[in-house]
Amino acid sequence: MDITLTTAQARIPVTVLHLQGKLDGSNYKELINKAQELMQGGTRALLVDLAGVDFMSSAGMVALLSIAKLLKGQIVEEEGWSLLHSAGRELSHGRQNLLKLCSPQPRIAQALEIAGFDLVFDIFSDSSQALAAF
């Protein structure tokens, strides 16, 4: 998986992570580490552009949930469903809007839906829509 970065000025500055390739158990921590690095550099809002991702397992989804928690300044200790649960609980107390997803390929979009991610994250069909929602 390759990660390239761009920045965009929405209502707030947004860093866009463009992912390319396959996101799985072998590399999901790279994505978390990259996001952590950005946050240490002052990034507060992230858009993950999934257009170039042709495979994503649950490990990749755990990475996205971990990043959402990190953006809220929380320590990530859970994995799997419990992480999804806590992310969902937080959203029920008001959407945080700091991490959005865009442009998933149809098979990835279906898997995100099967995992219940459409209930937890804003997922947009293109990046301009996503940026307008920040």
Binding site: S26, S57, S58, A59, E79, G80, S82, L84, R89, G116
Partner: protein, 136 residues
């Protein structure tokens, strides 16, 4: 049959092996993606949770007849029967979902049958079956 080790970096090779086999059958590209994802999740569980810090063998065997694709995953990790894990319910409370069950949720969604057996010499065999007719 593919014989490999529980190195997480072998996932790509394993996915390619399954994709090549399944693509030659009468399966839609979506169903092929689903079965590749299911195998990835099952092998990831073997590597990260079955073996953990130690390395061991992982064997993937694919067979089929006119109606069913069968994938057997064999390891020598400690006994774990994922079929005993209660199914996750998306309509129920998220709290009820077991730890680490996200991958298992995909396995159940994208396959039609999941069987576990303890191997006589130790280790596990996990069998994933996918109907080739009326695939979901």
């Amino acid at each position: 049959m593919l014989q490999t080790t529980s190195d997480i970096h072998n996932l790509n090779t394993i996915r390619n092996f399954v994709e090549t086999y399944a693509s030659a059958l009468s399966m839609s590209p979506e169903a092929v993606y689903g079965i590749v994802l299911a195998v990835d999740e099952a092998v990831t569980n073997i590597i990260l949770h079955g073996y953990g810090a130690i390395q061991g063998p992982v064997e993937i065997e694919l067979t089929h007849d006119s109606q069913t694709l069968t994938i057997s995953l064999r390891d020598q990790a400690h006994l774990f029967d994922p079929t005993k894990v209660p199914p996750a319910s998306l309509s129920g409370s998220l709290e009820e979902r077991p730890l680490g069950g996200l991958g298992l949720h995909f396995i159940r969604h994208y396959t039609d049958e999941l069987i576990h057996r303890a191997l006589p010499g130790g280790g596990n065999e996990l069998i994933l079956r996918k109907h080739l007719q009326g695939e979901k």
